[in-house]
Symmetry: C2
């Protein structure tokens, strides 16, 4: 397993033992499974909110991972998707991931909130995989996901970002339920 | 002048000599003037895009400043508003600035893009001051500002975030023109 390509300060320590950065995540299902696994482990270890995300290149290599770190880092920016995108851009050394002509996928265990939605527009992502829906996140775990454009999928697709929803939605919902059962903070 | 409460890596070196962290920015106009001054200096020093932002407490104390650092930091997250909000949260030690019961204002030299719009929803800001409009940014400097909810102001106001537009809009527009005249990168 390669060294974790992220700052120690941002990600919890269990990432190193739990994520295989050498594995090839060839399918959308394998990519979503990792995002949901990260969300679940973040709940289990009590290291943040019930959300995980990961960035992959077109061949399925794992570029970077993220989990929600809002409360541990005391930063409203530290959503899973943003933690993963910042780490991916730092690793690849560019502000728009696909500026190299490659195709990049972001898998998110739940539908991105308004903040992550906007970040995805600029990050150089070609495909967005979503597990749980916003109404799952709101009804099961009590999170407000904020205002989005009415046709939020169309707005992404018109910018060349493909969107696939409901991937392993039941598994993603189970993580939200586990968080609520623990009485996790809602923000 | 107090030490700059931000990491050296995030902000350009000229901030230390140009920003008075002891000054009281009592009026909305004084707060916007600082945001526009930051945007202009960022263009003049060629240290990022033509955008500046600053966070103030209710008494007018300057909490943190930000300028666009997308290209220098190779990060699509490094918009002026986000740089300022991250620094403010780090300085005050909480993920929602107004969790202390205080009122906080974010001044932005131009209307926030979709990413910064979403970030503002969660940051704990009570008032958003805007200089240039999005169509200024697009027509004068060529930036795409991304998709927003149709009633983006109403969505913020329903969440307790007051919005004031067109503050010193001409001065804010002049910075965008200066950037375009320099042939600055558009992203």
């Amino acid at each position: 397993m390669r060294a974790i390509p992220q700052t120690v300060a941002t990600l919890p320590a269990w990432i190193a033992a739990s994520v295989d950065f050498e594995h090839c995540y060839a399918s959308d299902d394998a990519r979503m499974a990792l995002a949901i696994q990260l969300a679940g482990l973040n709940v289990e270890h009590a290291t943040g909110g019930p959300f995980g995300a990961a960035v992959f290149d077109n061949a399925g290599a794992l570029v970077a991972v993220g989990v929600n770190r809002v409360e541990p880092l005391k930063s409203s920016l530290a959503h899973a998707e943003i933690v993963a995108l910042v780490a991916a851009q730092r690793k690849l050394g560019r502000a728009r991931l696909n500026r190299d002509g490659g195709r990049y996928t972001l898998a998110a265990s739940a539908q991105p909130c308004c903040q992550c939605y906007g970040a995805i527009v600029w990050a150089g992502i070609d495909k967005l995989l979503i597990g749980a829906r916003t109404n799952d996140t709101q009804s099961l775990a009590g999170f407000d996901e904020g205002p989005l454009p009415q046709d939020w999928i169309g707005e992404l697709e018109r910018r060349g970002i493909e969107v696939a929803r409901d991937l392993q939605r039941d598994a993603a919902r189970a993580v939200l339920r586990a968080y609520a059962a623990q009485g996790g903070a809602r923000y």
